[in-house]
């Protein structure tokens, strides 16, 4: 029995149904990555898993309990979320923003314990933003800012951490930085990570468990080495390609077919 799962959920915004009868298990201690074309429902699924979206039907279970029925702060001590869009308040410093991650551990008479202080320092050290502690968040570069937000989510100290496209808007070096950090959190601290990623090659390289989604259905799931094939990529993304071994890691590497080759097959 895994800690986090969705049982035949129907997810919709107003009347627009994104997924029907979708069941997902997040393996404990995995680095699960959800991939799929735009609008396949991957972010929606993440929102449902993190109780930001209530399923119309079905249920999301956290530690065997329906997530919506659990006390909000208790969920927040178990499961963290880094959403796609977050707003840094005007004039907030890095240390203050990271400190806000301690909210679920605090109360009106327990506003800032020594434990809070320690965890914030630790989270900033892990994400390499300690030197930025007194800087204003608005002054930082995109890569630094993303690290700060991850530090905030870390300060929440949740065994499960969900990240919605954590590498969007970052250049290649910072994308790899963030993914390395995720891998570290997973390997060294044994946290269960769930991330939505756009880049299939990144997903194949870093994930221990891959979920390929198309039109709200799971097309395949499993270890990247077992499931990523040219057929799967064509089925999920509608793209002809070759899958070769990544010369660095041996994980699957997706190489799209050349434009002319694709045009030729389309014509024949």
């Amino acid at each position: 029995m895994n800690r986090l799962s969705a049982e035949s959920v129907t997810l919709a915004y107003d009347q627009r149904v994104i997924a029907e009868e979708l069941s997902v298990e997040i393996p404990d201690n995995s680095f699960t990555v959800i991939v799929g074309p735009n609008a396949c429902g991957k972010s929606t699924l993440l929102r449902a898993l993190s109780r930001m979206l209530k399923p119309n039907r079905g249920r999301v279970l956290l530690d065997g309990q329906v997530i919506q029925s659990m006390p909000a702060k208790k969920v927040a001590r178990t499961l963290g979320l880094l959403p796609q869009s977050s707003i840094a308040p005007d004039g907030i410093t890095v240390a203050d923003l990271v400190g806000r991650g301690r909210y679920p551990h605090q109360g009106i008479l327990r506003q800032w314990s020594t434990e809070d202080e320690r965890v914030v320092q630790e989270s900033m050290a892990q994400t390499g933003v300690t030197e930025l502690a007194d800087r204003y968040v608005d002054e930082l570069s995109g890569g630094q800012r993303q690290r700060v937000w991850i530090a905030m989510a870390l300060a929440q100290q949740t065994p499960l951490l969900l990240l919605d496209e954590p590498t969007t808007y970052l250049d290649i070096q910072h994308q790899i930085d963030v993914l390395d950090l995720c891998a570290e959190l997973h390997e060294e601290q044994g946290r269960t990570l769930v991330a939505v990623l756009h880049d299939l090659n990144h997903a194949a390289r870093y994930a221990t468990h891959l979920i390929a989604l198309r039109e709200g259905r799971i097309v395949a799931e499993g270890a990247p080495n077992d499931i990523v094939t040219a057929e799967l990529v064509e089925e999920v993304f509608g793209l002809r390609c070759q899958v070769i071994d990544d010369p660095e890691t041996g994980t699957p590497l997706v190489v799209p077919a050349a434009r002319k080759a694709r045009a030729a097959t389309a014509a024949s």
Binding site: L82, S86, I87, R100, Q111, S113, Q156
Partner: protein, 345 residues
């Protein structure tokens, strides 16, 4: 740069205090009280600050006691409470909608209250109490209408502001119509009411305001930590364990009640709800909704404006709303200009 102090007890309790923000609150409170004492002493029978304090302590002569306790103290208290309610209400609206432009003036609550008051003045030639009740009902009804119209699986900042502006336009049109059909006596009374004035306020206006503040201020402050988290967006704060929709609904109701009651008591005093939170935030230089400092700023601003208007134009010549508009506006512009020079915005 960091001015936060933490006080911890051996039992594991801890309180976090932003020293600068706390200092601002104390200074604003002192300023509001000092202005109140001076304001009580101002009028056709000037009384020195020392005598005012003596009389308030119960040691004045009979004449002073009548002037201070019966005539001027209730007016000043109404001013303090109205300013505090508007400052707090404005800070709540701005924080909940994450929009510095959203204030009761912009959202149409002031206009709604005005419509209620105008109906009583123009159509029923109502008494002062009836006008107050009309304004209260008008403000609350407008608040409810905006909330229901803006509701779509939760209330979001921008939609609320836009719906508020739409409702405000409609109600303003209704108010204009009511003014054109009124006779000259009612119209004069209506215009004075619409500018916002403290003249002739007595204990009857103090008690409901005081009671409401006594209930709502603690309730709001208890939820301030959640509101602070909501600055970062619904998803981030929701993920941190804030019950976003519940906190938002509760604080919106509190903000509508505060501003509607304040408006019913003194008319739609312009600009306090809009400027007080902005001014407070610039003084504390701290992120977060700055609720307490906005409250104190509102009170200080209104009492100072009332004093300035009496001082410059004589008692009851110029409604306080005119002065708050000028004073608050100029102060805010000055702050914005100096901040721009310092490169902070």
């Amino acid at each position: 740069m960091k001015s936060t102090r933490v006080v911890r007890s051996p039992g594991g309790l801890s309180v976090r205090l932003d020293v600068r923000a706390a200092l601002v609150v104390v200074l604003l409170l002192l300023a509001a009280l000092a202005a109140s004492v001076v304001l009580i002493g101002t009028g056709d029978f000037p009384i020195s600050a020392g005598d005012v304090l003596k009389t308030l302590a119960g040691n004045g002569n009979a004449g002073q006691e009548f002037i201070v306790n019966e005539l001027r103290l209730p007016r000043v208290l109404v001013g303090l409470l109205v300013g505090a309610s508007l400052g707090l209400g404005g800070a709540l609206f701005q924080a909940v909608t994450r929009n510095p432009l959203s204030s009761p003036d912009v959202l149409g609550l002031g206009q709604g209250a005005t419509a209620g008051a105008l109906v009583m003045i123009v159509l029923f030639s109502g008494s002062a109490t009836e006008v107050t009740v009309g304004a209260l009902v008008g403000g609350l009804a407008t608040g409810l209408a905006i909330y229901l119209l803006a509701w779509k699986q939760g209330v979001h900042g921008y939609r609320l502001v836009l719906v508020g502006i739409g409702v405000s336009a409609i109600v303003t049109a209704v108010n204009g119509y009511l003014l054109t059909v009124s006779d000259i006596v009612d119209a004069t009374r209506a215009v004075v009411w619409m500018t916002g004035s403290l003249s002739g306020r007595d204990w009857e206006q103090v008690w409901p305001l005081l009671g409401l503040c006594a209930v709502l201020v603690p309730l709001v402050l208890v939820n301030a930590r959640g509101l602070r988290m909501m600055e970062m967006g619904d998803d981030v704060s929701g993920a941190l364990g804030v019950r976003v929709e519940r906190v938002r609904a509760l604080l919106m109701v509190a903000a509508v009640l505060l501003t509607a009651t304040a408006t019913a008591a003194a008319g739609p005093v312009s600009f306090v709800a809009l400027t007080a939170p902005q001014l407070a935030r610039r003084l504390t230089r701290s992120p977060g909704p700055n609720l307490l400092s906005s409250l104190c700023m509102g009170a200080a601003l209104l009492v100072t404006a009332d004093w300035a208007s009496q001082r410059t134009f004589g008692a009851d010549q110029l409604p306080v709303g005119v002065v708050t508009g000028v004073l608050g506006g100029v102060y805010l512009l000055w702050l914005l200009v100096t901040e721009r020079r310092a490169g902070r915005i």
